[in-house]
Structures are given as C-alpha cells and as structure tokens.
Amino acid sequence: MTSTTSAVEPAVRTPAEDTTTPSRARSIPRAGWMVIASKEFGDHILSSRFLVLAIIMAVAAAVPLYFISGQIRDAPSGATGFPALFIALFWLTPTVNDQISLPSVVGFLALVGPLLGLAFSFDAINGERANGTLPRLLSQPIHRDDVINGKFAAGLAVIAMVVVVMILGVTSFALIRLGVVPEAVELLRIVLWILVTLTYIALWLAFGLLLSVGIRRAATSALVGFGTWLLLSFFGGLIVSLINGIVAPLTTTSGEDVLKNIGVREMLQRLLPDTLYREASLTLLNPQVTTVSTPATLGQYAQAQQRIPSLFSLDQSFILIWPQVVGLVALTVACFALAYVLFMRQEVRA
C-alpha cells in the first residue's frame, strides 16, 4: 500500500499548475445542497402536483372557515369571555347542522399534511435514479448528502410556503370579514402552532424520502407512502380499538376498568403521529385546554371534576404538549436519519 502511494505521487504535473491558475477561479460557492434545493424548489413550484396541493390546501382552509364564521360571529354575543376568539378559527369544529360536523382547520391539516409531505418526496431519489440523472448528479463536485439535504430542504420550503400562505389567508379572512383582532399572545400561539404543523408535515416528508431511497420504483414508493397514510388516518382508530380490546378489555363497568381502558387507548393513539399533532395543536391554539390525558385513577378523576375551569398561559400550554412535540421531532429525525444512512451506503448503480 505504501509503495503504491509513492509510486503514484509524482505522476501529475500539468494539472497541479491548473489549480493555481486564476482562470479556474470559481465564484464564492453556494453550498452544493443549496444549488440542489433551489433547483428542486423551482421544480416543485412549477409542478402540477403543487397546483393540486395548493387547491387541496385552499379547500382545507376555506370549507371550515365558511361554516365557522357564523359560529364565531355568534360567539361574542352568546358567551361572554370566549377566550382567544381569534385563534378559535383554527380549532373550532364547524357544524353544518345537527347531524353533520366537519373537521376543523387543525383536523384538515392533520389529514392533508401527510399528503403534502409525501407528495414532495416520494420520488426524490428513486425518480433521479429512474431518470438516469443520479450518477450524473453525484459525479458533480458535491457531497453525496448534499442531494438528500437539498431535496429535504426544498420540500420543506415549499410546504412551509403553502402552510404559511394558507394560515395567513385564514387570519386575514378573520380580520377583514369578522373584524376580530388578534392579541400578541394569540399571534405567538399561531407562530408556534405553525412550527408544530411544519414538524408534523416534515415527518411525512422525511418518511417519503426514506421510501424514495429504499424503494427502487417511484410508483411503489408512492403506493407504500399513501397506503401508510390511509392506514394510519382512517384505520388507525380501528386498529387502536382492536389492540385496546385485547390489552385492556372492558369486561366490567367499574370505574377503574373504564379508566384503564381509556388510558391504554390514549397511549396507543399517541403512537400515531396525527394524534400527537392534534393534541399539540389543540392545546396550543386553545388556552382552555389544560389537560391532554384522561386521569389515570378515580381519585384524580374526582379531582379533575372539581377543578375550576381556567385558562392556560402560553408557556403552560407549551409545557403540556412538550412530549408531543418531542415525539414528532424524534420521529422526523429518525426517518430522515434512516434515509440519510441508507442513501450514503447505497450503490450509485441500480
């Protein structure tokens, strides 16, 4: 090995000069991942999937808003001291009539967010591979992780843009149509909630990225991604009940049993990212929410019954949902890290 090195050393003369030639000077570099991210961002914005998702998001904002606006308008006259009226727009569940109620903005986002995340990443790597552009891209003077970082950053940027625009739309609607003015704390709650929302969507973005690295065909990774989303969103509750019924069956109607059953269900539900997101969102947006868990014992339950309804300050709300936020961040990091490691170890050639 050492002898080989010495044998190779004196080989190059001309190119060595080149590095010092000013003609080879390059402009002060934007890092490789930024070049990739800006290209991907442009692609996303111009893509038809962006258009479709923008429409979905607009609907997700507009439909609840339409039905809530009536409720909100009635609220101030009806209930005095309706707290944090402005941000109630985001979490109030609109009722069309006595039978039908629609998901709130939070509910819509919990449902549609994953779609948004997956749509911008399910073909990130395998698409390049299928296109024949991956070897070419990797043979440019960039690190391999620039590719995956750039793609993640671009996806997140597009999503952040869509989400922020949507939420700004809702707030401006509230300002103009309803004449409700937010307080500073409410704005802060909204900002924090946006961050939580982005983390939630980033989780699915990272999951999509992982699929795009691990699965060779874009169509398959899309199918797996959207299948997972469907499973968790629509059958998640069903599966939770099923497991719940096995682990903590409701055999008697005693209070202890019921509480145990509920406790296990809550624990199982928190394995689903959308539960984490819903809990975090509702607590952040509604200062009236002072607890996210049902009491574990009858004693605590009795205590909770006697508690005087109160409002949480922002920091209290935030402390309450800290575990949920950490859970979301951890899941996101885990997905991204897995995608990263997998990609770094993968052969360039299929």
Binding site: G132, P141, H143, R349
Partner: protein, 373 residues
Amino acid sequence: MSASPGRIASKKRPGRRADVAERTATGGTGPAASGAPVLIKTRGLTKEYEDLVAVDHLDLDVRAGEIFGLLGQNGAGKTTTILMLLGLTEPTEGAARVVGLDPSRGPLEVKRRVGYLPDAVGFYGEMSGRENLRYTARLNRLEKSVMDETIDAVLEQVGLTDRADDRVETYSRGMIQRLGIADALVKDPDVLILDEPTTAIDPLGVTEILELLRSLVEERGMAILLSSHLLNQVQSVCDRIGIFSAGRLIGQGTMAQLAERFGEGKQILEVGLDLHGDAEKARARTVLGAVSGVTSITGGARPGDPWHLEVEHGADPAAVRSGVLAAVAAEHLPLTSIRAVVPSLEDIYRRAVARPGGSRVERGRATAGEVPA
C-alpha cells in the same frame, strides 16, 4: 467544429496551448509521449461484492493526451472501475489516483476535474438542454460570467446549438447522449471518463463525436478514458486499449502491441484480382504461390473475392509485397488491390477473451516494468 475547442482552450487556459504546442513540436501527442503526466493511475484496484469480484487487481495508467479504451463485455467490470475512479464507490483493496488525488479520500476535487458521462445518461425532461447544463455549471460553481459562454461553446461542440432551448423530453436518445458529452465538458475537465459514449448516436454523429474527442485530446491535452463494446469505434479513436474480462484487464497497449500479443503471429497480404474462369484462377494461384515468402494462399473462391496470402514467418512483408507486384505485372494478371491485413480489434478481442487464465501472469509481467521504482 474543430475550431471551437481551441477557442475555449485559448480563452480559459492561457497556459495550456503553449504546453500543447511544445508537445506537438517534439512530435508526440500520442501514447508515445511518455513524458506526459499520468492522470489516471490504479494499482491493485479491487472491488468485491458479496459473491463476486467485479474488478480484480487492476493496474491502469492513462496519460494526458491519450484516449484509452476499455473494452469488455457487459458486466466485465468497466462501470465499476469508472465508479471507483470517481469516488462513487469504495474499492475493497488497492489504490487509485486520478489527477494525482485519491478519489475515495478527496472525491470533491476529483469530481471537479473529471468530466463523467454515465452509461444510459439522463437529464431532467421538463428542463431544456441549456437549463440542464446550467444546473451542472452551478453545481460546479462556475462563475456567472463564464457560465453562459462555456455552455454555448460546449453545445456547439456537440452540435446541439439549434435544439438547446427545447425541453429534453423532446430529444432523441442520440441527442441526449450528445448533451451528456456536453455536460461532462461544462466543468472544463482535465480528464474525461465516458461510459459507452456513442451508443444510440447515428453513424455520422459517431464520427463527429470521435473527432471531437480527438481534438479535445490533441488541443487540450486531456486524458480520455472511454468504455465501449463497439469494437471498431474503439479501434478508430483510441490510442491504447485495455481488454477487460471478468473483472481483469487481460491485456493493454496499442493496437500493434495487442496484435503482437494476441495475434497469431501471421502476416497476411490481401490481393484483389479481377479473374474469370477456373483456368485464370489456377494460373493466378501458381503465380502467387511462386513468390518467395508466401507460404499459403486462401480465398478467391468467388469472382471478386480477394486472395489471402500468408507471409512466411520472419520474411520482410515489404519485400513480399514487391515480389507479388512484380510477379503480377510479369504475368499480366488484372490486379485491383493489394494491402496488408491488419488484424481487427475484433479478432484480437476474441482471442484475448478466449485465452485461458494464463493471461494473468502475463499481465503481471507487462505492468511490472511500468511501475516506477
């Protein structure tokens, strides 16, 4: 077309032309210019996958100013070798130096100076050819001021100027291949590595591309490593050729060297005679057979078929040739052509690959002399 590479060279690299001029003055841009720096060097380069050895102790040298052709069947290890040279895959064993750097330790600098055309290259279909090249230029951190100029120049070199602003999804496979070559040239590389560069390009286009490669080597002093399974293209453009089989380089050198090593040691003269009738043929056969140095005669079965004269081992082919001419003139045979048959690369290749494992020893002996002490 041949003027454009020179234009780039003079514009962007003032130092290069003098260097080239000097080399041409001393008479060797070809492989003979052994003073030229070795831009690609591998020693004992090995890549093993779980159950197969893709590349087996490869020793390779490619110097500035030469085109080296890697020849081998699919799966012989050509692409794996190329990926190791670019630092895109780690060698299991052995060392590689590309432009004097270790690709697995400093892949960025290597990739900055090596243009690579992958096998089955692809581009972003929704972007135009020019936009695709611009993306590559940005990834290579080319300055804005030189970017457009460089892109225009390389597009012209590969003959895509007219279609540069069309979306790549409207391109034919051959045009994509040309764009791939342009893409590899955007970074103004010292070394060009081309994996199957001429697949899907029409015959006329191939000639153009090969001329372009030749001019890049001669005017810019680039080193080009190209892999191909199209034998006559490799033969026509490469200064030296390495024959790959099952991960091993079973022979490398110029056509003449390979012919010597893997040829049958026979020299053959091809003589065309415009003969009619069996009597004529029989007469010709006797006349040609009488020429001193000719050992056997084959061919000429059908009218128009050339005759193949095998030259005696050790005899001077030039003397035999003039002997044949004299005899033909004396006997008034209607001669249409006469030439020495060079063994085609195909013959060499077939024999080299067919030769049983013994070639390994030979390879060791051949390369031992090349390693500087």
